[in-house]
Amino acid sequence: MDSFKKKFIEEASELIDKLEVTLLELEKNPDDPTQIQQVFRVMHTLKGNSSMFGFDLIDKFTHNLETVYDLIRNNQLPLTPQVLNVTLASIDHLKAMLDEGNYDDPDFLTTHNGLIAKIDQLINPDKPNEEKKSEVKDEHDPDAVIHTYYIMFEPRQDIFRNGTNPLYLLDELAGLGQSKVFAHFNRVPLLDSINPDYCYVYWEAIIATEQAVNAINDVFLFVESESTLEIQKIADLNLLSDTKFVEEVTQLSNVQKDIGYVAVQKLAGQAAARLNKQKSEVVKRERIGFRDKSTASIRVSSDKLDSLMNLVSELVTTQARLSLFAEENNVPGLGPIVENVQKLSRQLRDIAFSIVLIPIENLFGRFQRLVRDLSLELKKDVEFLTEGADTELDKTIIENLSDPLMHILRNSLDHGIEEAGIRVASGKPTKGKIALIAFYSGASVIIQISDDGAGIDPEVIREKAIQKGIITPERKMSKKEILDLVFLPGFSTAKKVTDVSGRGVGMDVVKKKIAEIRGEVDIDSEVGMGTTITIKLPLTLSIIDGLLVSINKTAYVIPLAAIDKIYAIEKAKIYSAFNNLVTLDGKQISFFSLRKEFNLSPSDEELEQVVVVNYEDNCVGLVVDFVIGEYQAVLKPLGKHYKNHDVFSGATILGDGTVALVMDSNKIIKEFAKIQTIKVK
């Protein structure tokens, strides 16, 4: 049962998130009926689920909320900002309600009762129509209470004498519901023997009605003594909705003088069976539809995914070993098989990795809310745009992205966007704009947060850095270098510390957190125009496409994503180069000899190779002995003992069973550059 509860909570959290997103949409377009419908539907599902799993409190609470939106969608209640505020507060409360441990908390109870009172007030601003609500309710299932009756009405011949018109009775009968009346004229005599005062006609009727059998009896109340009346219930559903039944009965009435209860009942039985089958088919179809939806996305525990990933990783490693074996041992026929295995495992790898990728959408939804609340709190009117919500990233990356992104957004709102007055004075629209954009760029995902606020003045940063003793006044720095200073610990340029940001524990933590998921942060700002923060993230964390290189007979992997070009270079050029610069393709490129940096002796070969990698906006060469080839590296952690050696992001096991270290090209260059500047000093 507990696992069901867990599943419910999982699902409910998702529903609540969805609800939040929809509400925020609704706030922008309050008149959008589809959104109102959507809110209602989600609440309805939430209510249903919670009552099913015994979360009665949530059930009751959402029931009230649902009523509000029921009224709204029926245009009985306007959608005011107040309603939205109460609903959003309720959503927060719902989140708290998912944790049953909260239920005894007095604060929780106060909020709970407060919200219930508020919702009640929304429903009954001046205690209006309860019955309207119940009417709406009744419409829900019109089918369930309908019965079908067979009526045989045979008036006595002298019925006209009392002034009774049987046709009126039949009209009245038809008023009770859907009906099919068969008039039988077979007793009408030939014209010469007809008595105009006599009623020769009798009727059979089939009526489907919600009314009880008494209502039918009532119709014939005054003619009971003057007619033969037979009323029989033939089915508990609306048989007249079954066209085949109607056809059959009509046909029967045409060929026979009267249909008779027995025949009708027989047909009714068939029809009922048919209808029931149809109904269950509808239900089934609905269920199938539901299942279709659920196959579109199924829930899998992340443990299973993790083990799948591990197995795929092992497979890729084993496949590499197989390829090597095939290369070394020329077994006829093995080559094509190995190639096939390689192809398959590559595909399998790609699919397995795409499984653990999830769209960034949920994260974006959360931020919609954050920006809304913050902009209210700070009294800044802000338009929040998101783009690329379907961009997919590794689950762990998304989880670790939440805090840094939240921080950046807060900064943008708090420091970036100016007060309305200042905005107007500088000729900007009063409404500020913050955009959160995600998109693919090669093997990485870029997330950009840009605002059209005040921007960051490099001079202010510079002064501040000098004041804090981070840099010396005479140090010459490019604008980019200055802006990068904000990523240093303890650096905050906010003039006042607000509740929201400015404690100086900001950007350095952001940078650290993003570095933990192998990402990079970049900042660009134009005074008066705004600030853009760019985060570059890897798609997945566990397999990388790499270039296998050899240094001193040891293999290393350089991530392929960072590599620009590979050149051959004479050894003499490297060791005689001044200021570590070589000219390649007419461009001056600074380089690092990995042999030298790893404290190894120079190689004996005359030719070495330079792998040119992108580093920030520059190209930097890494000199290796030689390039072995492309390699899919399954990244394995080096373990805690090497936690201080982050120039290697991990290790991978090669086909021959040896271990190759995977370089983090960015960190390695940063590290070497640091050492070099110290040397120069």
Binding site: E597, L638, K640, K643, A660, L661
Partner: protein, 173 residues
Amino acid sequence: MEQEITSKINSYLTFKLGDEEFAAHVGKVLNILEMTKITQVPKAPDYLKGVINLRGAVLPVIDARIKFGMPEAEYTTNTCIIVLDIDLDGDSVHVGAIVDSVQAVLEIDNNQIMPLPTLGSRYKSEFIIGMSKVDEKFIIILNMDAVFSIDEITALKVNAEMNADSADVEKVE
């Protein structure tokens, strides 16, 4: 449960570093490997010899001699890697330790384990569980968790000037 069972076992694996014999509780030992090719990690401290492939996982390897502040020695056919399960800040971490040779698995009762002599000890007390006399030889029983933690070289032997300090501490205890 498992913890309880392993702590009730009184078996110790003994190994040699130079002339001295040490012992590690078998509960800490996962495996003993022959010396294999170690992939060096550039710019790491000396005692971190590199990493090896342990059945598909990457295992960091520590040279116990360097870690204990002893002179490095050539690897011989007797040189082994003991794969240890170390408790590091609550996490279980696997690490390989290179030792000169593995000796035997001995049963040592808890009451046979003697505390270190309080005065004039050549070893730092936090790394040592105790000593035991087996076949007229003294075996030092190590606290593997402490010895193979992340810290830089944990010179097992106390330096001359530190000797006085630690003796003081021990007296207080």
